[in-house]
């Protein structure tokens, strides 16, 4: 099972700061999360940056997830 770790604003919404999910690609993670917490659908989950095993990916969908992956959601990073 991959571990998903949330930032403060998602934690405040769902009351958890991390979850274990079964996923093969990143899409499975999102489907699973919204299935468990429908309120996440309205959140800015899809506007956040994601780090999968410490590799930052903007707007992922088909990124492979390993059984021991760590997946961090965090604020979308821009620049000047």
């Amino acid at each position: 099972m991959a571990r998903v770790i949330f930032p403060d604003e998602i934690e405040k919404l769902i009351g958890e700061n991390n979850l274990m999910v079964d996923a093969r690609v990143f899409r499975d993670v999102v489907t699973e999360l919204i299935g468990r917490y429908p309120e996440l659908k309205e959140s800015s989950l899809d506007k956040m940056a994601v780090a999968i095993d410490d590799v930052i990916v903007v707007d992922p969908l088909l990124e492979p997830i390993n059984s021991d992956s760590d997946i961090y959601f965090f604020h979308f990073v821009t620049g000047g």
């Binding site: 965090f74 604020h75 620049g79």
Partner: protein, 756 residues
């Protein structure tokens, strides 16, 4: 996911790392390059904005009749001319923004929120008549008290800017409107436990003022609206695809009906990642049936584009006597300007990232005030928070009697360090930068009387994103690199070098062009130091695509399997035989072998190129006047791999100069009514040639595992360390703590007098 892009051994590079002449150089030194204000079209008219003389007011009425009656006036547009706008989060060059806020910033909707807030646009047959028309418009205001600082904005009875804005991120949903848009917490470990282990704890609150990017080219555009065909925007922007997306959304146009051409851009530093003029100009073009040109005056740029946030940041750091930092804590307050969306959270994400410390906690407040909506400014949010953190780190080192570089080395972030925002750092070069600083001739040099020295680290992410590149090969074996990333600092040269290196063909054989939105697929803007990293990766992909095709063509000419073809120095070689075909030969006969050759690299670049910088600053203080002179300065930064070393050094030096300006003299000065007192280069004092010494540079190269050539973005980290390096040097020279920027003569003299 396993990263397959292993960095290659640098010593084998033939083109990368050379100091080639930039391909767009000739146009730029002869005055032939066309910038935002340089396009004129037949029948073109001139647009100007009417701007608020008040910081906060209700608009009671607007009378445009006299202006409309003036001969030569062709169109007047207000907020009501926008098609219906609703609240919707849209991606802009700055990340995300509420479309409604964007529209209300372009032209006020019944309420003005800062001095200079645009109210309406007028287009006339000359710039002078447009200005005369503005003087004929009567606006009746009901002036409201202005909120000019986070403290005022958060006070109990503060006037509220937005009646429907409720603080997000609180444990309980609030039921009264507030100027605090959001509160976010970032944490790692347990700071209370960490502080309990500390032998020494230092805490202070720091202030940084509103500052401007200060690009020399004002915002400008020329547009033509065409209901039936193809509307066109020519403008100076860091991201023309973002201009197209935002403008089309606001005006209910399809993307295919709006072409945006990025002119040459005269500086941006983050400030040209959103729109201020283009949608209004298009509305006026639609109304008048004429092309419309708009150029901001310099005072408009200061009053009403997007400066960098003023902040009040409290930082507390604890360490053991042996130099181990045990806990780092911060409470950050960032001004967003008139609409929510300051980079407070980015401040929180960067403040302590140069440190491998177990316990961290940061609270980030995004606060609206009656000032222009902030925009990105070079590592947005990071300089302010890292300034505060680095000042405390330096003070702590002094209290512990440890060399400030040794103290930083002892606690330095490295591969595997878990960041406060979650993931662990990959291979990074902070330690190498600190060591280079320690070994630099500068750091060995003794200080003289009235001089002081400061050292500071800085961190920025440098995220990839979407880039598309087409590499069109010509029949003579030369090629055109078609990219969609506006070249703001010489990146065309870097693209050329990366294509040359990948293909093994001389760099001069390639021309790099920045295509408009019709001639290349979507590209994210030039921002976040992503261009050489991500667009460079796309160039490599496109070049590899060309190599693949070249090999196929050679194989078909020789009637062999493609597997036996090697590609060496721009030549296809039949490994099984002795035949060779150069790129030029393959291109010359391409029609016979299947048509012309064109490579494609459309990517969403994975990974990031975190770049750490370490700066050393020596200042001399005139203790009778408080005036500070920078006498020596060294900028050290990890470039991963410097594709074009001159332009890498240029980024370090430019970042240092901007940061020195931020530290010493730059600030927005408002009066108590919120009227900006210094909207010009006379009194918004950016550094001059005579203000600065040579800025020494050291390029550290710790290859980025996420890039084929090991590139890290270098544009932004360099503006972070100068604030604390300079301010701490002042503090060292006068032997008194500095907390508030700028270290302008009156402020420094006040600190000297208070401590004598």
């Amino acid at each position: 996911m396993k990263n397959t892009n292993e960095a290659t051994d640098a010593s084998h590079y033939k083109y990368i790392g050379t100091r080639s002449i930039r391909p767009d150089g000739f146009e730029k030194v002869t005055g032939r390059a066309n910038y935002g204000a340089d396009l004129s079209l037949p029948g073109m008219i001139w647009g100007k904005m009417l701007r608020s003389p008040h910081a906060h007011a209700m608009i009671k009425s607007i009378d445009i009749s006299k202006a409309e009656a003036l001969a030569g006036v062709m169109a007047v547009v207000t907020y009501n001319d926008f098609p219906s706008v609703s609240s919707e989060i849209v991606a802009t060059g700055e990340g995300t923004e509420d479309l409604l806020d964007l529209a209300r910033n372009l032209m006020a909707d019944g309420k003005v929120l800062y001095h200079g807030h645009a109210i309406l646009g007028v287009a006339a047959i000359s710039r002078q008549i447009a200005e005369q028309a503005l003087a004929l418009i009567d606006v009746e205001y009901e002036v409201l008290p202005a909120v000019l600082d986070v403290r005022d904005a958060m006070a109990k009875d503060a006037p509220v800017l937005h009646e429907k804005m409720y603080t997000e991120g609180l444990a309980e949903t609030p039921n009264t409107a507030s100027n605090v848009a959001s509160v976010v917490e970032l944490k790692k470990g347990d700071v209370d436990a960490g502080f309990a282990q500390a032998d020494v704890i230092v805490e202070r609150e720091f202030y940084t003022p509103t500052v401007h990017q200060g690009y020399i080219e004002p915002h400008a555009c020329t547009v033509r609206y065409d209901e039936h065909g193809q509307s066109m925007v020519w403008c100076s922007t860091q991201g023309h695809f973002d201009v197209r997306a935002t403008t089309a959304k606001l005006l209910h146009m399809s993307l295919s009906k709006l072409k945006v051409i990025a002119s040459e851009i005269g500086g941006g530093f983050g400030g040209k990642t959103t729109v201020y003029l283009e949608p209004v100009a298009l509305l006026m073009s639609k109304k008048s049936g004429r092309p419309v040109k708009m150029i901001m005056d310099r005072d408009e740029v200061f009053k009403a584009s997007g400066p960098g946030s003023a902040t009040r940041n409290w930082i507390k750091i604890g360490a053991k006597n042996d130099g181990t930092i045990t806990a780092m804590q911060g409470k950050l307050h960032y001004e967003a300007g008139a609409f929510k969306g300051s980079p407070a959270r980015l401040g929180g994400m960067t403040a302590f990232t140069p440190y491998d410390v177990e316990n961290m906690f940061v609270e980030c407040y995004d606060v609206v005030v009656n000032k222009p909506k902030v925009a990105a400014y070079r590592a947005p949010g990071a300089p302010q928070a890292e300034y505060a953190a680095e000042m405390i780190v330096s003070e702590l080192a002094a209290r512990l009697a440890i060399d400030p570089i040794d103290f930083r080395l002892q606690n330095a972030a490295k591969e595997g360090t878990k960041t406060i925002y979650g993931p662990k750092l990959k291979r990074v070069g902070l330690v190498e930068c600190l060591e280079a600083a320690k070994n630099s001739p500068h750091y060995q040099q003794a200080l003289k009387e009235n001089q002081g020295r400061g050292v500071s680290s800085g961190f920025w992410f440098n995220i990839g994103g979407s880039s598309s590149v087409t590499l069109n090969m010509n029949r003579d074996g030369t090629g055109t690199i078609v990219e969609g990333s506006p070249d703001i600092g010489g990146s065309r040269a870097s693209m050329q070098l990366m294509a040359a290196e990948t293909l093994g063909i001389a760099a001069e054989s390639f021309k790099t062009i920045v295509a408009d939105t019709e001639n290349i697929a979507h590209n994210d803007g030039t921002g976040g130091s992503r261009t050489t990293f991500a667009t460079g990766m796309a160039v490599v992909e496109a070049a590899k695509d060309v190599i693949r095709q070249m090999k196929e063509r050679a194989a078909s000419v020789w009637n062999v399997n493609v597997d036996v073809i090697d590609w060496v120095d721009g030549v296809a070689i039949n490994v099984g035989g002795s035949e060779k075909l150069s790129a030029a030969e393959i291109c010359a006969t391409a029609d016979r072998t299947g048509g012309q050759i064109s490579g494609q690299g459309n990517i969403n670049a994975r990974g990031a190129g975190p770049s750490f910088a370490v700066h050393i600053c020596d200042v001399e203080v005139d203790k009778e006047t408080g005036k500070v002179d920078v006498v020596r300065y060294t900028a050290i930064q990890d470039a991963g791999k410097a594709i074009h070393p001159s332009y890498v050094e240029g980024q370090y030096q430019g970042g240092a100069a901007q940061g020195i300006g931020w530290a010493l003299n730059e600030e927005y000065v408002y009066n108590d009514k919120g009227i900006l007192q210094n909207p010009g280069f006379l009194d918004y004092r950016i550094p001059l040639a005579s203000d600065l010494p040579m800025i020494e540079t050291v390029i550290v190269e710790v290859p980025n595992p996420a890039h084929p050539f090991g590139v890290r973005g270098v544009g932004e980290s360099g503006i972070i360390p100068p604030l604390a390096a300079t301010a701490y040097a002042v503090s060292d020279a006068i032997n008194a703590p500095i907390t508030d920027l700028p270290c302008s003569p009156p402020n420094v003299l006040a600190v000297i007098q208070a401590n004598s």
